[in-house]
Symmetry: C2
Subunit: 224 residues, 2 copies
């Protein structure tokens, strides 16, 4: 067991080092980068589609999609108008810094202002692997249930922003928003939160505004 722990720690520390390198490349190229994490089906790809459609023309956006298999997500990002790279992890349950490095090599980085990295759908493992992105965003969704902050505390603790998707389903689902938000506040006090619906569009504008502000703060020369 000790042997295993020490091997795992070495892998993590090699990953952190490479994440730092990725971060330096992104800084040098002036690309503000988000790591989007969520359960399977919470709406990462839908949120990315909306974001591409809204920001296209305003700034230059690229997407890196991580999945176990298929290129469904990258195809959707391309159809929405962004340049996209698909990473197939071949069974791995998370993206890591090596995978992101490989994907960055396939983009002409200086062309872009904003990069959205869509992690593998998983509320556990992605939280343990730094990629080198600027901020971590968690996308929760109403049908997942109101107890998820309590049950997946590492994920909720480690993020810089929280999207609560599928609020259009609130009338049909037993979801106690106060209980949910109490859990979030316990783990991550003051976390910036965006309740929205990718189906109806409600709340999306607040997310777009926040994102534009982040890009513009990061790189005042970005074409906004």
């Amino acid at each position: 067991m000790k042997q295993r722990m020490s091997v795992v720690e070495n892998i993590l520390s090699a990953n952190d080092q490479l994440a730092e390198e990725n971060r330096s490349r992104l800084e040098a190229a002036g690309i503000y980068t988000l790591n989007l994490m969520a359960s399977p089906g919470a709406g990462k790809t839908s949120l990315i589609e909306h974001t591409i459609k809204h920001l296209n023309g305003k700034l230059h956006l690229a997407v890196i999609d991580g999945d176990i298999a298929t290129s469904i997500d990258a195809d959707r990002a391309v159809a929405a108008g962004a340049e996209a790279v698909q990473i197939n992890t071949g069974g791995e349950c998370h993206l890591d810094a090596v995978m992101l490095q490989g994907a960055l090599n396939q983009l002409e980085l200086t062309k872009f202002d904003l990069l959205l990295v869509e992690n593998v759908g998983n509320l556990v493992c992605p939280a343990a692997f730094k990629l080198g992105t600027h901020q971590n965003v968690l996308i929760a969704s109403i049908p997942e249930g109101d107890d998820k902050p309590y049950k997946y505390p590492t994920m909720y603790r480690g993020v810089d922003a929280l999207v609560i998707n599928k609020i259009d389903l609130l009338p049909y689902i037993d979801f106690d928003m106060q209980y949910f938000q109490r859990g979030v506040e316990l783990l991550n006090p003051g976390l910036v939160t965006f309740p929205l619906s990718c189906s109806t569009g409600e709340g999306l504008q607040t997310w777009f505004d926040w994102l534009e502000e982040r890009v513009s703060d990061f790189n005042p020369a970005a074409n906004l």
Copy 2:
């Protein structure tokens, strides 16, 4: 990289050996055991609650709940009338055979006819770790989206039964059941499937009947 692979393979093979030991204990005690896997919030705990309430009195049922943190799920199983053991994995993204062994040690095995093991909410990692249970059941849910079989093929390939929960939400969600089922059929031809709703109760009886039949086939002496 080679070193890492070889360590991982050794861990998996030690796990498989222990899974065999768990299986022998369950066989000897005459307990039919299911490993329930799903995304976070697909409805594992709700399905277990309904199953306890329906089968209680007919047979003796125990639950082992795996979670990163909290005892919310085991508390719900106990409230529904079953004996339950909570495993807190402390960050691990799946149950493994060692954890199940520890939980089995806390139950008087010969008392029970049916054991439901609720894995950590995750569509990736639990598929890689045998526990020693008799069958693997995947609980999908409508809000997760119809593309999940294609994106999580290992999970869909490795299960013996599939519950499709939250069918009451079909009117409010863009979900193509034919596309979903085509993916399931490609990966796992002839898979037995239970479309149902833990909210409305629709379809639950078919699941209960199947489960009773499994228990009775496995152990004709079970009190059915």
